[in-house]
Structure formats: C-alpha cells, structure tokens
Symmetry: C2
Subunit: 163 residues, 2 copies
Amino acid sequence: MKKRSQNEVDSWCTHFEERCRERGIRVTPQRLAVYRALAADPSHPTAELVHGRLHAGMASLSLATVYRVLEFLESEGLVRRVSSPGSVSRFDANLARHHHLVCRLCGRMEDLEEIASMRVPFAGIAPRGFDVEQLDVHVVGTCASCRRAPAKGRPTNSELNYR
Amino acid sequence: MKKRSQNEVDSWCTHFEERCRERGIRVTPQRLAVYRALAADPSHPTAELVHGRLHAGMASLSLATVYRVLEFLESEGLVRRVSSPGSVSRFDANLARHHHLVCRLCGRMEDLEEIASMRVPFAGIAPRGFDVEQLDVHVVGTCASCRRAPAKGRPTNSELNYR
DNA sequence: GTCAGTGCAAATAATTTGCAGTCTT
DNA sequence: AAGACTGCAAATTATTTGCACTGAC
C-alpha cells in the first residue's frame, strides 16, 4: 500500500498540533494517533480501517473512539469526510483542494489533482443565503482491475480491512 | 414540497417504460410506482422517504422492495444515487448533467444547473485504464435556514420523513 | 474536584437477505 | 412449469450512545 513520506507526515502532524493548540483543542494520544494514521495513508481509509492500522501499536484504542475522534476532527475542519454513493464514510487528512477518483465497484478512492480545466470558482454558484464551504468533485467509474475481475458487490467494511 | 409538473413526470415515466422494454426489464407496478415517485420529487428522497410517499396508494409495498428497486434501477443506469458525506443514500431520477447543492447540516440537496464555468470535460482527467462514467459535483455548505436555526445534528432517516 | 476524553458493551439506524408465496411468460 | 419479483421478518453492517473510569488542569 502506498504511503506518504515520513517527512510529510511529520510535518502534517506538527501543523495539526499547532492548530489544535491555537484553538485550545486537547491533543490526546488517541487523537494524534488517529490523525497520524490518516495522514500517513492516502487511500482514504474508513474508521474501521484506521482502527485496524492502529491496533498493533495501541491495543486498547476502541473503534468507538476512532469514530468519535474522526467525527470531532471533521467538525473542526481538521480532516475531511469523503463519500462515495452508497458506501461507508472515508476520511482524508489532505485539506488542499483536490478531487477524487472513485471506483464504483470496489469503492477505492484516489486523489486527483485539480487540473486547470476542473478549477471551479466558488463565487456565484450557489443561491444567496447559502454559504459554500467546500466543493466535492468525484470522478466516478470503474477501475482497471475491477473491469478485469468484477467483484460480486461493493466490499463490506470489514472486507476492506484486508486488502 | 416542490414537485415536478405532472406533464414532465408523465413523459419521464413513458420514457422509462420504453427503456425498460427495450432491454427486456419487467415494468412491475412496484417499479413503476417507485420510479414515478422519484420522478415527481426533485428533493432527492431517500428510500424510506419514497416508501413513505407511496404507502398511501400502495399499502402493501414493502420498504425492502423499495430498496431493491432503487438498487436495481441504479444498476441499470435508470436512476442516479447521490450521496452527501456521512449521510444516507438519496436518489435522483434526473439523468441530465447537473450538480448538487448540499447542506452539511440538514442534508437537504437541491439541483444546481451546470453553469458554463463548472462544465468539466470528462476526457483526460482520469488515468488510463479507468473508465469514467459520471462526474459528481457537490457544492457543500450550510443553507440559510440552518444558519438561522442550527439543528443538533444531521437528521436521522425517519426524522427526514416528516418535513 | 471538575470536566473532557475514553473503553466497553449495548443500542440504534440503514440496508440486505432468506424464504415462501405470486405473478408473468 | 420456470423464473422473476415481492412481502415479511430476521440478519447484517455501520455508527452512536450510556455509563463508569481515568487523567489533565
């Protein structure tokens, strides 16, 4: 599985801690671990996947806490929740503007750089009164490996764990 | 609640039946009813909401069937499943290219015409091997009424029913 | 000490499935 | 008659919550 470089992850974590301190958010070991796992993994893991990755180093961490932490970090705008239709929630620590490439069959989700022709201006697209916070662009289709070996259905959360 | 005009709905249903016949898909009363309910309602209802709307005229229709029909129609490309992060599945009978305006707080979802500056070309945006089928653009934020009267959390599926 | 944060188990919400009956061809 | 489609109830999956405990200010 692809990972972000150690340096990049460290720098994200440092930035994360700064942001938290600025706002008086406690940086508990659990929060930092969840954030770090997310930052290290560009594959947009689910809560359960994050929990699985952390279990080795932090056996007592509960899945409920992972859900709580992710929910909280999202509400603070420190991570982003991404979705593909009919699938479980996935999360992303990358807050830079970018889009997502989503396989309809296996649910895999990759980052897609925002290319010039997809640069969409926020202003003026929503009716007055609506406060636009974020633009989600999902390019949905089928990935090469799914076309070769079509699965029976979208993988369940726990099936996702062991890819 | 806003509705599509009777004429428009009828024409969509006719077109729907033609498509089904072309492909040898049976048009059962349940399928037609579900499709019609979806076509009549531009608010992107959930499965449960569709079921609720139909219950008056078709008391025996089960929620499981609504789920099955929607799933099936989606797989046939006759309706579109749309999603907002962390929320339940919603459906859309409108297959014309358009975007969605989504309120992060109440989950309400409105159609947004694809304006020129948001027209995104399919070609060349995905890596080779990936077969692009559809582009989902979600403009996410908070709607005017939610900013006025913030709810405690995203409404649950059954709370959605009685708006 | 207070209060936020956590683990655990139980609860809830959304969606799917098994199976027996029904309708269509 | 064979297969597709449906209703009902039960099962499964994802996510949330109550409660008691622990640790930081």
